[in-house]
C-alpha cells in the first residue's frame, strides 16, 4: 500500500484531495495552516484544478466553501479554533441551510495555547450548531475520517465539523492512501429555497435539524467510529476523546484488558454506548483534550451510581493539553520522571528576528510614546505582538483580530488621547478595515499604524491580501490623504520616522501610518529562490 509520512494537517489535506475536493478555503492560523499550504503545493491539486487561494478571513472562507457546496461540489474550510469565532455566523447558519455538496469544516484547537489567546474547545461549536463532529485519534484516522466526513455530510445534508488539536496537527506519521474519488459535477440544490433563511423557512429547517441531530446519535456511520472494549472484570472505565486514547494506551497497552474503554471519535454520542460502559464500572475516568464536555454530560445531579473522574474534580488538570504523565497520574499509575531542569536554564520566549522591520518600528514608536505617557498602545495578533516583551514592553492589548483599531477608538472616546493602534497588514485586511471605517466616520483621534511586512508572518509567511492595496483601501474607506503617511522602518530612518509618528500622534483626528518593509524571512527566502532560479538558467 502507498504510504506517506504526513503531519496530521497534511493527512487531512491529502485525504480531501483524494476524496474529490473541489475547493479549499482558509485563513492561516496555527495549528491549521499546513492544511492549505499542503494543498497549495500539491501537484495533484493543480492537476485537478482545485480552488486553493487564501481567504481574507475565516468568515469569508467559510462562506465561499458554503457557496461551493451550494453548487453541488465538495468543499473544505480550515481554521484555528479562534478562527471559528470569526466564521461562527456562517457556520451556525450553515447547519440550518444544510449543504448540497459535501462540506467539511476543520477546526484546529490549541490546548495549552502554544500559539493562541485561549484554549476554547471547538466541540462546543458542533453541539451549538447541531452538526456531527469527528475527532480522529491519529494521522491515519485523520486521513480516513475525512472520507467519512464528506460521506456523512452528503448523506445527512449537513456540514461536518472535523476537530483536531495541536499534537495531531503537528505530528508526523506514516499514512496509507486510498483510491481517489472523482469530483462532483455542478448541481443546484433540489430545493431552490434550501439556502434562503427567511424566518418561515428557517423555522422549518431548524426543526428538521434538531430531529436529525438526535437521530445521528445511533447512526452507524457515526457510532461505529466510537469503540467500546470491555474489560475482564467490573472496575474502572475510561472514556477517551480523540488523541487522548493514545495517552491512555501509552500507559496501559500491556494490560488494557483491566479497563473498560470507550474511545470516542464521533459526536453526538450514543447514550446507550455510554450506559453500557457505565453498567460495568464503579467509576469512569474521562480524558478529553480541551474542555470537560463529555464529563459535564455525565456528571449528573440525580444519578450518582457511578463516580465520574476528570477535569472537573481535579483528577486531570482543568486546563492545558494532556500528555502521558497526566494520564498516568489520573489512572493512579506511577509516571516516569527524569532529572529536574537545572536552575541554569533560562526562559527563552520568542523574539523578533534579527533585522525585523517591526522591531525598528517599535524602536521609533517607543521613544515617541515615552513622551506621550504609558498605556496607550493597542495592538493585535501577529509577530508584532512581541512588542509586548522586552526590550519594548510597550503593547497594552492583544485580544482578537482587528481589536487594536476598535479598542483604540473606544479608549479615545473615553478621553484617552493620544492612542495608537498597531496592526499587521494581513490582520488589517482580516478584520481591521471595518474598524477603520468606524474611525473615519467619527474622525476618531487615533493613530493607526499598519506594520506592513507584506505577508502573514507569524504563521510562516503566507500571502497577504493587503499587498499593494493598503493605500487604496485606506483612501477608499475615507482616510484623509494628508494624514496617510508611509514610513520605512529602518535604523537609518529612525529620527525621521519618529518625527512622522509624533506629528500624527498629536493630530486631533484620524491618522494612518503605513510602516512598510518586507518580512526578512520571506525576503531572504525569495532571494534564495531567485538565486536558485538564476543558477538553473545559467547552467
Amino acid at each position: 500500500m502507498h504510504k506517506l509520512l504526513l503531519l496530521g494537517d497534511e493527512a487531512i489535506a491529502q485525504a480531501a484531495l483524494d476524496a474529490g475536493l473541489s475547493g479549499m478555503y482558509a485563513y492561516p492560523g496555527t495549528p491549521s495552516t499546513e492544511i492549505m499550504e499542503y494543498i497549495q503545493a500539491s501537484s495533484q491539486a493543480a492537476a485537478d484544478g482545485v480552488h486553493r487561494e487564501w481567504s481574507s478571513n475565516e468568515k469569508t472562507a467559510m462562506e465561499a466553501a458554503l457557496g461551493m457546496s451550494y453548487a453541488g461540489r465538495r468543499a473544505m474550510v480550515a481554521m484555528k479554533h479562534v478562527g471559528l469565532n470569526v466564521a461562527a455566523d456562517a457556520f451556525i447558519n450553515s447547519a440550518v441551510t444544510g449543504v448540497n455538496g459535501g462540506l467539511v469544516v476543520v477546526a484546529a484547537d490549541d490546548p495549552s495555547m502554544h500559539s493562541s489567546q485561549n484554549e476554547q474547545d471547538s466541540r462546543f461549536y458542533g453541539k451549538f450548531a447541531l452538526v456531527p463532529v469527528l475527532e480522529p485519534r491519529n494521522q491515519q484516522e485523520a486521513y480516513d475520517m475525512i472520507f467519512d466526513a464528506f460521506a456523512i455530510s452528503e448523506q445527512y445534508r449537513l456540514p461536518v465539523l472535523f476537530r483536531i488539536t495541536t499534537r495531531l496537527a503537528h505530528s508526523r506519521s506514516a499514512v496509507a492512501m486510498r483510491k481517489k474519488i472523482p469530483q462532483n459535477m455542478v448541481t443546484l440544490p433540489s430545493n431552490p429555497r434550501q439556502f434562503v433563511l427567511l424566518p418561515a423557512i428557517a423555522r422549518k429547517q431548524y426543526r428538521a435539524l434538531t430531529s436529525v441531530y438526535e437521530k445521528l446519535r445511533s447512526e452507524p456511520v457515526l457510532d461505529d467510529l466510537n469503540r467500546l472494549s470491555a474489560g475482564k472484570a467490573r472496575g474502572t472505565g475510561v472514556i477517551t476523546c480523540g488523541i487522548a486514547y493514545n495517552y491512555l494506551m501509552e500507559n496501559i497497552s500491556g494490560n488494557a484488558g483491566d479497563y473498560h474503554i470507550l474511545s470516542v471519535a464521533a459526536y453526538p454520542l450514543n447514550r446507550e454506548k455510554v450506559a453500557s460502559l457505565a453498567e460495568r464500572c464503579d467509576r469512569v475516568l474521562v480524558l478529553e483534550e480541551g474542555y470537560p464536555i463529555i464529563e459535564e454530560h455525565l456528571r449528573g445531579l440525580l444519578d450518582r451510581d457511578v463516580k465520574v473522574l476528570g477535569r472537573m474534580d481535579g483528577t486531570v488538570p482543568r486546563d492545558g493539553e494532556l500528555n502521558p504523565a497526566i494520564v498516568a497520574k489520573a489512572l493512579g499509575l506511577k509516571a516516569g520522571q527524569g532529572k529536574e531542569v537545572p536552575a541554569v536554564v533560562r526562559q527563552r520566549p520568542p523574539s523578533f528576528c534579527k533585522g525585523c522591520g517591526h522591531a525598528d518600528l517599535y524602536s521609533a514608536l517607543s521613544e515617541v510614546m515615552a513622551e506621550a505617557g504609558p498605556g496607550r498602545v493597542f495592538s493585535d495578533i501577529g509577530c508584532y505582538t512581541l512588542g509586548a516583551l522586552p526590550p519594548y514592553n510597550m503593547v497594552n492589548s492583544c485580544v482578537d483580530m482587528g481589536a487594536s483599531v476598535t479598542m483604540a477608538i473606544g479608549a479615545t472616546d473615553a478621553g484617552l488621547f493620544p492612542a495608537v493602534a498597531v496592526i499587521g497588514d494581513s490582520t488589517f485586511t482580516h478584520s481591521g478595515m471595518t474598524g477603520l471605517l468606524d474611525a473615519v466616520i467619527k474622525d476618531s483621534p487615533i493613530t493607526l499604524v499598519i506594520s506592513d511586512n507584506s505577508t502573514t508572518g507569524m504563521t510562516g509567511g503566507q500571502k497577504s491580501q493587503a499587498v499593494d492595496r493598503l493605500e487604496s483601501i485606506c483612501l477608499g474607506l475615507g482616510v484623509d490623504r494628508d494624514h496617510l503617511k508611509v514610513i520605512v522602518p529602518l535604523k537609518k530612518n529612525h529620527e525621521e520616522n519618529k518625527a512622522v509618528i509624533r506629528t500624527e500622534l498629536n493630530h486631533r483626528g484620524l491618522s494612518v501610518i503605513l510602516a512598510r518593509r518586507e518580512c526578512i524571512q520571506t525576503a531572504s527566502r525569495s532571494k534564495k529562490a531567485e538565486a536558485a532560479e538564476k543558477n538553473k538558467s545559467g547552467n
Binding site: 500559539s115 503537528h170 502521558p324 533560562r346
Partner: protein, 192 residues
C-alpha cells in the same frame, strides 16, 4: 526495538532537518515512527523541541513520556538541559557546545557546560567548529546527528542514505558535504 529521541534547539536553528533525516532512514527500515513538531509562535527565536519516536511496534502517544527518552539531541547546550525531565536513566545526551544567545540573561557558558557534565551520559562537541573545518559552516546539524548516530538503533548506512535523499535535490556537492559532516560527527564522538 524502540528509540525515543528529543530534538532540542532554538527556533530557526533547523532541528527539523535532523528529524527529517532520521525519519527518512526509519521509514526505509520499515519502523513505526511518530514525530511531534513545534510550529507557530515559538519558531521566532523561542525554545523548540521535537519528539521523535521509532519502534518496531505500534506507537501510541505522539509525545514521549517523562523519563522515557533514550536520547536527547540538541543543537544548543542550554536547550539540551531543558529536556532532562524526559531523559531516561541511562539515556544519552548529545549536544552542540556553541551557545545561541538571544536573551539578555543567558547564563555563563561555562556554567552550562558544567551542568551538562552533571547530566549523566553526555557528549558535548563543537559542531559548528567541526563543520567550519570541513568548509561547510552550515552542516553543524549533520555533525551533531553523526555524533548521536551510535545511540539511534539503526545502521549508520541508513542515515547516510537518508542524507543522500534529503539533499539529493540540491546537487552532489551538497550531499558530499553533509555526508562528510555526518561522518565527522560520528568520529568525533567515538574519540571520547
Amino acid at each position: 526495538m524502540k528509540c525515543d529521541i528529543i530534538l532540542a534547539g532554538v527556533g530557526g536553528q533547523g532541528i527539523l532537518s535532523i528529524a527529517a533525516t532520521i525519519g527518512l532512514a526509519a521509514v526505509e527500515q520499515n519502523l513505526f515512527l511518530k514525530q511531534a513538531e513545534v510550529h507557530g509562535m515559538s519558531q521566532r527565536g523561542g525554545d523548540v523541541q521535537s519528539h521523535l519516536r521509532l519502534s518496531d511496534r505500534e506507537i501510541f502517544s505522539d509525545l514521549i513520556p517523562h523519563g522515557g527518552a533514550d536520547l536527547i539531541i540538541s543543537v544548543e547546550p542550554m536547550e539540551a538541559l531543558r529536556y532532562l525531565p524526559w531523559l531516561s536513566e541511562g539515556g544519552w545526551l548529545v549536544t552542540n557546545s556553541v551557545p545561541f544567545v538571544n536573551i539578555p540573561d543567558y547564563p555563563e557558558p561555562e556554567e552550562v557546560i558544567a551542568e551538562l557534565g552533571r547530566a549523566g551520559n553526555t557528549i558535548v562537541l563543537d559542531a559548528d567548529g567541526i563543520a567550519r573545518d570541513l568548509g561547510s559552516a552550515r552542516s553543524g546539524n549533520m555533525v551533531i546527528l553523526g555524533a548521536a548516530s551510535s545511540f539511534i538503533s539503526m545502521p549508520f548506512g541508513s542515515l547516510e542514505d537518508a542524507v543522500r535523499k534529503m539533499f539529493g535535490r540540491k546537487g552532489e556537492d551538497i550531499v558530499e558535504v553533509n555526508l562528510k559532516a555526518l561522518r565527522a560527527g560520528r568520529d568525533a564522538a567515538a574519540v571520547r
